[in-house]
Symmetry: C2
Subunit: 148 residues, 2 copies
């Protein structure tokens, strides 16, 4: 599964550790940056990740900023994305099971690397339940339903 | 400050407790439902809350579903909203300070009522820091900047 990652300056160290771990786990990883501590704007990196999902260039995304809040908002502006901000694995699993989430947001200042990996593992290992949840997922992006 | 609340069937009990507490605290509260355990679709209630913020009918919003994930995605589809999914007060404060969040999302199955109230208190008591954060907030809703 191809996984894209993006982060701002507050999140890039965690993002880099997660990217290395995902590669070691056998996933194809696309690193969209940032790759230094120089200050950048999280909306630009969230938007870039969202476009990568929307284009089909990646199947899943992981975004990281200081709290995870700003970059999760940025990703959810794109109707192709359902981004879940989480800090523990149960939420990450529920995001897949109920919301068919395709992007996970993490806060590097709040969630440590091992817990972040546990969140991603739950996110990647859990299937969407479908059924009544599919109708609700479709309602999140009516413009995409109309164009089908 | 006028605060609007909305929830699905998994969140309405917590939403009702939070609404009563906010009224007792002196806030004007608009309850957008749901108001029963009958199954409803969280995107409809998230969208309704978002439109209430976008119209200026409320200054702040609180949305609740089972995990908080689905309804937070729904709210963030509206460019007038910056919705932060949180489960502890530090994130709620950071959402205001850095992201000028105007809506807080909570997961009723994951966050108990007293912790939810502590999150809302931090959300209502923390000011936006402005400065470089304003540029980033503007980038989250470019269509609103163009129309100013």
């Amino acid at each position: 599964m191809r996984i894209a990652l993006a982060a701002d300056h507050a999140g890039y160290v965690l993002k880099d550790e997660l990217a290395a771990w995902l590669r070691e786990s056998g996933h194809e990883v696309t690193d969209l940056g940032t790759n230094s501590p120089d200050s950048v704007d999280y909306p630009a990196f969230g938007s870039r990740l969202a476009e990568t999902i929307a284009s089909g260039s990646a199947h899943r995304g992981v975004v990281v900023c200081g709290s995870g809040i700003g970059i999760s908002i940025a990703v959810n502006r794109n109707p192709a994305c359902r981004c879940a901000l989480v800090n523990e694995p149960l939420s990450a699993a529920l995001a897949r099971e109920h919301n068919d989430a395709n992007v996970l947001a993490l806060g590097a200042r709040l969630t440590g690397p091992d817990l972040a990996k546990a969140c991603i593992a739950a996110f990647l290992d859990t299937d969407f339940a479908g059924g009544r949840h599919q109708r609700r997922v479709d309602m999140l992006s009516p413009q995409l339903q109309d164009s089908d």
